[in-house]
């Protein structure tokens, strides 16, 4: 009989689609909100998804699957945060520069945030979205 721990349940294509749809809904909620901090709700959802993909060592592959599902072709392995944002946020409102900035913020948080600290609190404590993106470039020496 199949015995599998809940943590090792395969991540099906249907599950990937459902997760992308959930993030799209988060994005739409943010767009409908007047709260300046609403963006953190969306970024937290992106962060949470990619974090568990990464914990399983499959963030790059799953990001590529997501891009493929959305009709984007990627030759090299995609940066997972940027890929998920590309797949779930409105491209007319989030240009490449913004996507890259948010991706740097999330990579910085992935590196330095304590797991139990909310993303919004961490980013604000570090001076906000723009400062965090800058910190990523300085601390981790990469710039995209």
């Amino acid at each position: 009989m199949l015995r599998r721990a809940p943590g090792t349940i395969p991540f099906s294509t249907e599950a990937l689609k459902a997760n992308l749809l959930r993030l799209q809904n988060e994005w739409e909620t943010v767009q409908a909100s007047r709260d300046r901090d609403a963006i953190y709700q969306y970024l937290s959802a992106v962060f949470e998804l990619v974090t568990w993909w990464d914990r399983e060592g499959k963030a790059g592959k799953r990001a590529n699957r997501a891009l493929h599902l959305r009709g984007y072709s990627s030759v090299r392995e995609a940066e997972p945060f940027a890929a998920v944002i590309l797949c779930t946020a409105d491209r007319d409102r989030v240009d490449e520069r913004t996507r890259s900035k948010w991706s740097r913020v999330l990579r910085y948080a992935a590196e330095f945030k304590e797991v139990d600290e909310p993303l919004r609190d961490f980013v604000k404590r570090k001076g906000g979205i723009n400062k965090c993106a800058g910190r990523f470039a300085r601390r981790l020496g990469r710039y995209r």
């Binding site: 199949l2 015995r3 599998r4 943590g7 349940i9 099906s12 599950a15 459902a18 997760n19 914990r55």
Partner: protein, 80 residues
């Protein structure tokens, strides 16, 4: 696993046991199948908890749906 998902898994386990005339299916198997199904339907999601472990919880959509059901039931009771 959060309480909402645990309740759903327990209910599915009970139902599986009843369907098979008392031959109880392994709880692990029922929860594995149900979690995969709930995830594909957008009702369950995985996340990394404060200890760094991958856990499961109900999605905001399922939580909202259950909350609405509860409110509807409360309104129905008021109408009686």
């Amino acid at each position: 696993m959060d309480k909402i998902l645990q309740d759903l898994v327990d209910q599915a386990h009970e139902a599986a046991g009843l369907r098979r005339n008392g031959v109880h299916e392994a709880h692990d198997l029922v929860s594995t199948e149900l979690l995969a199904e709930l995830e594909a339907d957008g009702d369950a999601m995985r996340f990394v908890d404060a200890k760094g472990k991958i856990r499961w919880r109900a999605t905001p959509d399922l939580r909202q749906y259950l909350k609405d059901l509860k409110l509807d039931a409360r309104d129905d009771l008021k109408d009686l």
